[in-house]
Every structure is written in C-alpha cells, then in structure tokens.
Symmetry: C2
Subunit: 355 residues, 2 copies
C-alpha cells in the first residue's frame, strides 16, 4: 500500500510525491485515489469524484467563484522517473507539466479555509491525449454546474506569469494524385510525390502573421507535420499526402482559419480533419484584469492550445498561471525551478486572502 | 488430390491448368510437384529438383546447349483466379507473367525428343520477390553447372518478340534534417519536411537520357518511390526521407550509376541501399544473333530488370522471348492473347528442329 498523500508537507515535497506517483494518461487511478483521499480529510471542502477527476469546492456564499484547475496525467515515461532534486531545480516527468501546479492547488485547497472568493478546485485526468478522454471535457458534459465560475485559472506551466488566451489549431490533409506505372517504365506514369515539391515549396515560403490582440503579440505557424507517399519500391506512386498543422491567433474564427488554409493551398485537394478555435486573451474582463493586477508582471500570449479555450467557450474567462517553463513540457529533461513553485503558492494564497 | 499435369493437352489448355494451380511466391510447392511429376514421365529428359525449382535436361552430345527458363511464381492474388477464356484472350493471375511461357517450355520439353541443340529447361521459384529466394540465384550457388550454356532464353512476356539486355536498378535514400519544436512555437524549430521541397523539385526537373546501345534505344528514369516524415501531429519534424529508384541504361556500370545519383543530389545526405547492374543487349554474340534471325522481327530493349542480367553476369548471353504484353504484368486484369502462346510454341519448336 502506498502511504496516503500528506498535504501538510511543503509544496515542493508535495510536488515530489505527486511526480513519484506515475500517471501517464489513462493510468491516473492511483494518483486520483491519493488526491481524493487527501482532500476528503479537509473539513472545509466538498469533494466529489468523476472517473479519475476530483473536484473540491468551498461553499461560503462569496460574491465570486473562481475555478482553479490542473491535470493529473503526464505524457509517456522517458526514463525520467522518479523525481530528483538538483540544486534549485526539481527534475522528472511531470515536474513542469504540471504536478508543480497540482501541488500548489492542493496546498491552497488544504490551507486556505476562508478564501475571499469561493473556489472550485479541479484535478483532472487525460489532458495530454484525445479530447474524448479529457476530464474537463467529460465534466462539462456530466456535471456542467461544476465548471461554472466568474474566472478560471489553469495552473499550466507559464513561468509564473499570466499567459492569456490561446491560439487555435487546425489540421488538414493536402493530397496530390498521379498515375501508377512500373518504375522501369516511369515515363508511362505520373509521379504524385514529385508534385508535392510545389506544396512544400509553398509551405517553405509561408510568412507567419504576428498580430497584436488586446495588447499581446501572437505568432502563427503553418507547417507540414507528416508527409507520406509510395506504393512499392518499383512503382511510380499515384498519391502523396501532406498533413499540415495551422496554429492561428485568436483573432481568427475557426471558419476564417479554414478559409485561410484552403486559399493557401488553392489548386490542391485540401481536407480539414480537425479544428479547435483559440481564445482571445480576455484581459479586459474584470475578474481577469483584477487577477493580472494582483499577480503583477507583464502577461504573455499563450501559443499552445490549452483548456483555457474550453473555459472560454463555456463563457468563463480563463488564464494560464503556473510554475515551470512551457518550453520544457514533454521533454525528457523537464524540470521546474523550486523557487517558482513556492512563488506561485505564495501569490495565489495572497490573492485568495490566505495567510 | 489434384490430377497430374497432362503435357499431352494443347499449350493453351496447359496454360490454363498452370494458372489454376495458385503459386504466389513462397507457395510454389504444389505447382513444382505437378511440373516435376509431369516431366518425370518424359523419357528423353533427366529431371532434378532443387527446392521448388525443377530442372530437366537433354544430353544428346550436341555442339551447343541452350537454357530455356521460366519462373513458376506469381505476384499476390487480386481476385483474379481461376483463369477465364474470353474470345481470343486468356485472363487470370499469371497468364501473362508467366505461365503461358511456362506452358510453352513444358510442351517443347515433352514433345521435341531430338532437339538440334541440347536444352536445359528450368522452371524456378520466387522470381517476384527478394533475390535471396530466387530459384535461379539459389541454383547458381548450389549447382552452377546446371546454368551453363551457350545461350539462354527467359520466357518472360515480351509480346512474342526478342527483348534484349535490361536496365540496371539502383535504390537510394535522400535525407533532410532539421530540429524539433512544438508546432505551437514552430519558429523555434527547423522543418525537415519543408526542406524536401528542393529535393523533389530537383527530381521533378530530371531529364531522362535515352541512349542507343547496340541498335536499341533505352530510356532511363529517376523517381521518388517513397517519401516519409513526421513525428507527431504537434511536432515540427526533424527528419524526412525520400527513397528514389534510378533505372539506368546498360551502358552505365554500377559505379557510374551511383556517381550519377550522388552528384544529382549534391548537397544532400545520400545513401545507396541497393544496386543491380543492367545487361547490354549482346545481340552481336553469334548465338543471340542466330536466334534473332530465326525468330524474325525487330528486337526491343528491355526496360525492367530480369534474370537476363543474372545470366549475363554468369557469362551466358540471354534474351527475353515469350507470349504476353510486359505492360500487363502485375496488373489485376492481366491476360495473354491465345495466338501469341501458340506462335511462341511454333517458333521455338521450329528453332529447335522439332516437327
């Protein structure tokens, strides 16, 4: 039996304990059990369990409710467990993305019994994989009332500053066709792979837009992420497929993003396979504005798609704010500066009126 | 039990019987058994078995020996068995490549007891797959004396005219590299797929050489046959691979072909993975010249690599000569004109001095 999670330890030790409970996506039962059990021991919280997602709420009748959320899963193991302290850093799978953030959530949940606004703490499963498994997505369907709030904070790694909004992401397939022939008589066929030269040259010449939105500068990107073609070593191929990923600033709608890509590849067979809209920073919303002011520092734009966009689509203004460098997420050598974990805990505690 | 193969039937019926014994590469036992058994009944032949390759020889002390060979295997089934006659055509898997040729070999073997030159008939396994399984290749290692001759005829489909020589074939990998990044921050990476644009553009601009060799016009070809790249849907790829196939005329050596490809892709990481030389037509060799004169008609160059090159490398002048259109080989709708089978049998019988 694993010893129960002790919320009385300091936030860095708690991060270590969370990291050392392996929780690759679809294997979150142990960590969700530990989190649930530890929160059940906190008198001022109402705790519910939904699959491997745990929700803990205060209900103090405050005029405002904030949702503070973190995912419990990690990307696959890469010979980077257990956790390991080295100087000012904590190393290991999930230290950055995002068990340091989860530890901050659990510490605040356990030790701020009278927050100045009601809080819904959510520790959820399966953020790193298909949205069909995403704990927040499932909760929005089964218990939408639990996601209601005036403001939401996702404690994804953001270097301890507010990252606002997020870019949209669209995937599309661009296909070229030709006709097969034996490669010994190649002139009788029409090589579909050769035709991809022009598709890739177009991509290579793409100029990224960097729009300013609500004071933040976004940066788009259009890239081939896969290419595949070929029938056999002695056959002129009749089809080639390029899969592209368009990351677009949140001033474009899904439809506008789709039009852009379709126009960009004018003359080719283009099929959009996936499209998730971004979220405008929304820093003009009073709750967000107040949070940014309380935290201090300059907010940054968020480039990667996060569940911020899910909250935005539910009508809840949301930002990312958490310890760790987002560029280290999903890397074999991911780590988090110990001071950032402690800073985040302190800042959040102060904002909620804790001591 | 399958009834024994009857060599007394006409050559077209015999082709049907051979086609109806399914013999996809590596599954030639049944057809080799039937062929061996039928030839054992022919008094003037010495029959030996080597794996699923059957060899039958006359030994009349003639001044000249000719090897006449055909492979027994076919490419995979494609809903094209059993055989089916329709008007002047015989349809089905292997009708063209090359059981019509095999039927001619068997009829000649059985019914020309006193050929004017000694003959080694070879019906062999696994021509359609990796050369490591090729029955002629295996025989050249285990019993090289059985391949000795003054001249060889491969009864591969050639529309009933002599096809001479064959082109070489070289495979190479051309690789581009870059550096990975999350596609949400694509500008921090270096997209290896985009770099393939220039590789494919170079291929698209390739101008084929069509040299004249010993009076026959060859036609080279340089093509991408596979392209692959990509790590994940949200990752800028750091590597992309283009596999090319160079079919080269027999006036280039293996080394010259390799130099050509390396120079063509100057500036890229090129690795040659396979290289099989071609064979010059060799129609100036007396035995070949005499055969062409006896057959009549204008000889054609052979574009595809065949076992003609293997005989050439063993010092045995060789040509392709058989019923069926080589362009129909490996096609779902392969078929052979009935008249071409009968013509080939008649021509070969006459050349061997049969009645």
């Amino acid at each position: 039996m694993r010893p129960p999670l002790d919320l009385a330890v300091d936030v860095v030790t708690l991060t270590e304990h969370l990291v050392d409970i392996e929780s690759v996506s679809r294997n979150e039962q142990a960590i969700a059990d530990a989190v649930e059990q530890s929160l059940q021991g906190v008198g001022h919280l109402t705790v519910t369990r939904h699959g491997n997602t745990v929700v803990a709420r205060t209900d103090l009748g405050r005029g405002e409710r904030v949702v503070i959320a973190g995912h419990l899963d990690t990307v696959p193991l890469n010979d980077n467990l257990p956790s390991r302290r080295e100087g000012d850093l904590l190393h290991g799978l999930g230290t950055c993305d995002m068990k340091a953030g989860d530890a901050v959530i659990l510490k605040i949940a356990a030790t701020v019994p009278q927050p100045n606004r009601d809080v819904t703490f959510i520790l959820y499963e399966a953020e790193e994989i298909d949205t069909a498994f995403n704990g927040l997505n499932l909760l929005s369907q089964s218990n939408p009332e639990l996601l209601v709030g005036d403001f939401a904070i996702l404690m994804e790694p953001s270097n301890g500053v507010v990252e606002a909004g997020c870019q949209g992401t669209l995937r599309a397939e661009v296909r070229t066709t030709g006709s097969r022939a034996h490669s010994a008589r190649s002139w009788m066929g029409d090589n579909a792979i050769h035709k991809v030269a022009a598709v890739l040259a177009r991509l290579d010449g793409y100029q990224a837009r960097t729009p300013d939105i609500d004071g933040l500068t976004y940066h788009e990107g259009l890239n081939a992420v896969f290419v595949s073609g070929g029938v056999a070593g002695n056959v002129i191929p009749d089809e080639c497929l390029v899969e592209v990923n368009f990351r677009y600033a949140p001033d474009r709608s899904e439809e506008e993003a789709e039009s852009f890509v379709t126009d960009f590849f004018d003359g080719y067979d283009v099929r959009v396979t996936d499209n998730a809209p971004g979220a405008r920073p929304g820093l003009d919303v009073p709750a967000a504005k107040a949070f940014v002011e309380a935290i201090g520092g300059e907010p940054n734009p968020k480039f990667g798609w996060t569940d911020v966009a899910r909250f935005t689509s539910l009508g809840v203004p949301a930002v990312n704010y958490g310890p760790g460098d987002p560029l280290l997420a999903h890397r074999q050598d991911e780590h988090v500066p110990i001071a950032q974990i402690e800073d985040c805990e302190r800042v959040l505690r102060a904002w909620l009126g804790g001591v």
